[in-house]
């Protein structure tokens, strides 16, 4: 790329990639236990060759720390890209990836499991909670799609989606509230902490599932970057530019739902990441989605890794819920950038 804009973009993306690597490395190394390089090395070798690491520390590293670090990268990327996609689709910067019912539906599904799980006969062992949360997220989102379909080809359908999403969110959250109310104390606690998010349940099987959804989703999303750019001009203009707007909408929404529902199912609700990652990137270098999608994957991964590190280290050996940390880590950075550059709406 010979143009200065292209070079700036490449520079920023490279810097983000480097930041992600550093964050991931710190995330792997430090925590309630600080691993030595040798310990990490031998445990990784053991893992790769299918053996169990020799020491307890090694096993902790291979079975707890490493999958958790990878999960942070994946979920961070997923939320970042989800935020970008939804903000592009709704042409509105105040949109979170879980807006169309996904997060609140997942919250309801998980609350249902916590409070009534023993009553309802369905059980799939350790998979029950993620399945309940994922199902909740998907069903709530489907509800939003179905209810908003009144005006499918019309221009107001995006607005319909937004409003219907708000309504379904309210419904799900009041459901969660009710379940909290009738719950016994331990169950009510579980609901609270699930809604603040945690990466502590990460293991290799869940990493694989989230990885498949996230990497697949991002790969497909990149192909929609240009149409999403065109969508910035409005649905009508985008249509004139050759974009099949209806198909774009459903495709992007589906990608987002799949990624976010799956991630939320395993980590609980982690808010704020999807909201501010696209903002920060836009402030740095504008709103071209080809840059934004890649950038938000990298920045989201970085942010969440850093947040998780802070969550694990600041009160060690106790842990802070990660949702609290993402807000505390993200807001000052965001405000700082906001003051530096003129952000135009």
């Amino acid at each position: 790329m010979s143009d200065p804009s292209g070079r700036a973009r490449a520079l920023i993306l490279t810097a983000l990639f480097a930041a992600m690597v550093v964050a991931a490395a710190a995330s792997i190394r430090f925590g309630a236990i600080d691993f030595s390089l040798r310990e990490m090395g031998s445990a990784t070798l053991a893992l790769l060759s299918g053996r169990e690491p020799a020491t307890l520390d090694g096993r902790i590293f291979a079975q707890l720390r490493l999958p958790r670090a990878v999960m942070c990268l994946l979920v961070g990327a997923c939320l970042g890209v989800g935020g970008t996609l939804m903000q592009a689709l709704f042409r509105n910067p105040i949109v979170e990836p879980g807006l169309v019912g996904t997060s609140s539906g997942a919250a309801f599904g998980s609350a249902l499991y916590f409070v009534l799980g023993s009553v309802l006969k369905f059980s799939a062992g350790p998979w029950t909670l993620p399945i309940a949360a994922c199902a909740g997220g998907v069903v709530a989102t489907y509800l939003v799609f179905a209810l908003a379909r009144a005006n499918d080809a019309g221009r107001s359908s995006i607005v319909m989606l937004l409003l219907t999403g708000l309504a379904v969110n309210a419904l799900c959250l009041s459901g969660v509230g009710f379940l909290s109310y009738i719950a016994r104390d331990p169950q009510a606690r579980s609901i609270i902490f699930w809604n603040l998010g945690t990466m502590s349940g990460s293991d290799w099987p869940s990493v694989l599932i989230v990885g498949a959804a996230t990497i697949g989703g991002i790969a497909i999303a990149l192909r929609y970057a240009k149409p999403l750019n065109a969508l910035m001009l409005g649905e009508e203009e985008a249509s004139y530019l050759g974009v099949n707007v209806v198909r774009l909408k459903w495709a992007v929404l589906t990608i987002n739902v799949v990624m976010v529902a799956v991630a939320t199912a395993f980590t609980g609700v982690i808010s704020f990441v999807g909201l501010i990652v696209p903002h920060i990137l836009r402030i740095l270098h504008g709103a071209d989605n080809r840059y934004l999608i890649a950038g938000s994957a990298l920045l989201g991964a970085t942010l969440l890794s850093v947040a998780d590190l802070v969550a694990r280290v600041s009160l060690r050996p106790a842990e802070l819920p990660i949702g609290i940390v993402t807000s505390i880590v993200g807001v000052p950075v965001f405000l700082y950038l906001l003051r530096q550059r003129q952000y135009v709406f």
Binding site: G31, A32, I33, E52, A54, T55, L56, D57, R59, I60, Q63, L64, R65, P126, L129, Y181, R184, D185, P186, A188, R189, S190, I192, F193, W194, T198, S200, G201, D203, R312, L315, R316, P317, A318, E319, P321
Partner: protein, 298 residues
């Protein structure tokens, strides 16, 4: 220094046993060298039994006795992390099946960390005594356990006798604020097990009468419930009372202001410890309760 040595020893043992060349473990008993105990009740009993020397980690809610605050806390018992627990290099993790998130237990099992939950539950005096026996045996403090049980029986019998001397049976309501939340709970009548049953039972022994009927803890939905019940005495656990600050403040709570208790100034501060669950000092607690609720003026 000791930490590193013990840690190295643990790793060496783990490595050796992972090799599998030495067959099954030679010693039959659990290794209590470094204990992480995640249970408010268990920790209190451990201190009562004098077995706290090797305690290296407790949960945030374990606050009794006061000395326990010097032990490292691994976090809130419903928001733990396996890694946090393991960073203390425990040789055993003891809990009462009230740990969250669920994945933590699975992860500890997967890493083959020795864990223990006691069979007996302290949901009744007998249950408490059974738990004392079990824990006494586990920690090799059998004598002490017997002493505690005997003292408990003695104190309780004495307290109940003295309580019979009072002729009135004041109607008592118990208001309990939970520790990690601001939920305003009313302890009601004969619940099944736990969640208010202890308080009801103790009130009964102290010669009082439960003012609120119902099962277990109730969230106070309407001030009318307590106003209607119109208790003669209100007992408030320390967390809530201290937040309000004083008797006068307590009198202003919705629904409370209209009660006999408020009007006669019979609202008393009690500690969670002496009212809401059974422990070795319950006998003494019942005695104090009896005195408290039968006095006519503060």
């Amino acid at each position: 220094m000791t930490l590193k040595r013990v840690g190295a020893l643990v790793c060496a043992c783990a490595a050796v046993s992972a090799c599998g060349r030495f067959g099954t473990a030679a010693s039959a008993g659990p290794d209590l060298d470094r204990m992480v105990v995640i249970s408010q009740q268990y920790n209190e009993l451990i201190y009562a039994l004098g077995a706290q020397a090797h305690l290296v980690g407790v949960d945030y809610s374990s606050t009794y006795p006061p000395e326990i605050k010097s032990v490292t806390t691994v976090g809130y018992h419903r928001a733990l992390s396996a890694e946090g627990i393991l960073s203390l290099k425990p040789t055993i993790v003891i809990h009462d099946n009230n740990i969250g998130p669920e994945s933590v237990v699975r992860q500890l099992e997967q890493l083959k960390v020795p864990m223990k939950t006691f069979e007996a539950k302290d949901d009744s005096i007998d249950g408490l005594k059974a738990l004392l026996r079990e824990m006494g045996a586990f920690f090799h403090k059998e004598t002490r356990a017997q002493e505690l049980a005997a003292t408990l029986d003695r104190d309780l019998a004495a307290a109940r006798e003295r309580a019979k001397a009072y002729r009135d049976h004041p109607r008592v309501a118990v208001i309990h604020f939970g520790r990690a939340s601001n939920v305003y709970l009313l302890v009601a009548g004969k619940g099944g097990s736990g969640d208010g049953a202890a308080a009801s039972q103790m009130l009964d022994w102290a010669g009082g009468e439960q003012a609120i009927q119902g099962n277990g803890m109730q969230r106070m939905t309407s001030p009318e419930i307590i106003a209607q019940a119109n208790p003669d005495v209100i007992l408030m656990t320390e967390f809530g009372f201290d937040r309000l600050g004083s008797l006068d403040q307590a009198k202003t709570l919705p629904g409370v202001a209209q009660t006999t208790a408020a009007r006669t100034g019979r609202i008393y501060r009690v500690s969670e410890h002496e009212l809401t669950y059974f422990n070795p000092e319950t006998g003494k607690s019942v005695a104090r309760l009896a005195e408290l609720i039968h006095q006519s003026r503060p």
